[in-house]
Symmetry: C2
Subunit: 223 residues, 2 copies
DNA sequence: TGATAATTTGACCGGTTGGTAAACATTACA
DNA sequence: TGTAATGTTTACCAACCGGTCAAATTATCA
C-alpha cells in the first residue's frame, strides 16, 4: 500500500501515533502564534523536525491539520465550563470557574490564542462548533445561573454576559500577554500577574454578584 | 520628479490626501479581518478600488501601510482612557469609561480587531507603542485609581488589573463578535447585545468596586 | 532472511504574493 | 497653451506557498 495516511488503516502504528502527536504539537505552536493564513506548512515542518512532504503524508492538507488540532483541543478547552455544577454553592462555583480559567490561561496560552485567532478572523473553520456544541453548553450553564439568581443566591444578572465577562477577563492574560507584560513592566517576569489577577477577579465577581436589596447606585443600560 | 511618494514632498496634494485616506480605510477593512500576514496588497487594492501598483505609489511597502494605519488609529483608540478624570466622581468616571469603551466596540470594531490581531500575534509591529506611550498612560491612570482607593472612594483593588478587566470585557464584544452572536443566537441580530452588556458590566464593576468593611466572603489569591 | 508494507525525502509544479520597470495619462501652473 | 511634475496602469519578476510524485529508506513479520 502506498498511501495509508492514517485514516485508511484501522490500526494505528506506533510511528503514526508519535508523528501525528509531534505534528499537532508543532501545529499548535505555529497556528497559535500566526493564525491559519499566517502559518506555513514549512514552518510547522521545521518545528516538528521533519520534511514538508512527510507532514503531508500524515495530514493531506494544511486545513486537515488545523481541523485535527481544533478537534483535539476544543474538548479540553471547554472542560472548566462543563465542571460548572448546578448543585454546588453558587459563589464557590463561580469563583472556582474563574480560577480554573485563569489556570488554563497560564498553562495553556497557545490553546487560548489558537481559538482567539480563529474567532477574531470570523471563525471560518469553527463556526459550526460555536453555533452547535458551544452554544448548547452555554445555554445549559446559563440556565443554571438564572436559577441561582431567581432563588436569590446571587444577584440578578444576565447569565450570558456574566459568562462572556469571565471568558474575556481570564483569557485576556493569555491572548494579550505581550500587552499585559508591556504595561506591567519588565520586573513582572514571573507568574505573579496571574496571582494578582486571580485576587482581583475573584473579588470583582464575588462582590459584584452579591445579592443586594437595591442596586448600589442608579445606572441605565443605555449607551 | 518620478517618485514623490508623499513623504518626499513637503506639500501634500489634494489627490494624495484623498487616495491615502481611501487606502487606509481599505487597509483597516482588510488588516482587521485577516491580520497582517493574512492580508494581501491585492485585497486592499480591490477594496480601495485601485490597482496594486497604484497603492504602492502611495505606500512603498505593505509594512509602511500597516504602520501608517496603526499610527493613525492608535491615538483615537486611547482617547477614552485619556478622558479618565482624576477630579471627577470615581464611580461615575469608571462607569463612563466602560460606556465609552463599549460604544467604541460597537462603532469601531475594526479598529479593535486590528489591535487584537497585532497583540495576539506578539505585537511585532507595535511593541514600542505598548512599552512607551501606552504604559505611561496606564501608569498615570492607575495612580489615579490607587488614590481613589486610598481615599476610600472605591474598594481597594489592583488598578492595573481593573483596567485590564475593563478592556477585556468591553473589547470582547468587538473582537469575539462572531462567538458572541453564535452563543446568543440568530434572534439577537441588532445592537441589543451592547445594551445588555452595558447594563451587566456597569452593574458588575460598580457593585464590585463598592467600598466594603469586610470582603463579602473569604477568598485567596492562590490559583 | 526476504518480501511486503510503511515511512521519508529531493525534485518539482502551478498559483500567489510583494514589489518593480517603464510607458502612458493627467494635473498644476508659468 | 505648453511643459514639467504628478498620478495610473500594464506587463513582469523572483520568492514563496500548498501540494504532488517517484524514488529511496526503514520497519514489520512470515
Amino acid at each position: 500500500m502506498v498511501l495509508p495516511r492514517a485514516a485508511k488503516t484501522q490500526r494505528r502504528t506506533r510511528i503514526q501515533e508519535e508523528k501525528e502527536e509531534q505534528i499537532l504539537e508543532a501545529a499548535l505552536e505555529v497556528f497559535s502564534a500566526n493564525g491559519f493564513r499566517g502559518s506555513t506548512i514549512d514552518q510547522i515542518a521545521e518545528v516538528a523536525g521533519m520534511s514538508k512532504p512527510n507532514l503531508l503524508y500524515y495530514f493531506r492538507t494544511k486545513e486537515a491539520m488545523h481541523r485535527a488540532l481544533i478537534d483535539r483541543v476544543l474538548d479540553t478547552w471547554l472542560d472548566p465550563l462543563r465542571e460548572f455544577n448546578a448543585e454546588g454553592n453558587p459563589v464557590a462555583e463561580i469563583r472556582s470557574y474563574i480560577r480554573r480559567k485563569l489556570e488554563m490561561a497560564r498553562d495553556f496560552p497557545r490553546e487560548s490564542r489558537l481559538f482567539a485567532n480563529e474567532v477574531l478572523q470570523g471563525a471560518p473553520h469553527i463556526e459550526d462548533e460555536l453555533k452547535g456544541p458551544l452554544k448548547e453548553l452555554v445555554d445549559e450553564k446559563a440556565e443554571v445561573i438564572r436559577t441561582w439568581a431567581k432563588a436569590g443566591k446571587i444577584a440578578k444578572c444576565d447569565p450570558y454576559h456574566l459568562i462572556f465577562a469571565i471568558w474575556s477577563t481570564t483569557q485576556h492574560y493569555a491572548d494579550f500577554d505581550v500587552q499585559v507584560r508591556a504595561v506591567l513592566g519588565q520586573e513582572n517576569a514571573g507568574d505573579g500577574r496571574f496571582e494578582d489577577a486571580a485576587r482581583f477577579l475573584e473579588r470583582l465577581f464575588v462582590d459584584g454578584l452579591q445579592v443586594r436589596e437595591q442596586p448600589s447606585s442608579d445606572y441605565t443600560g443605555e449607551i
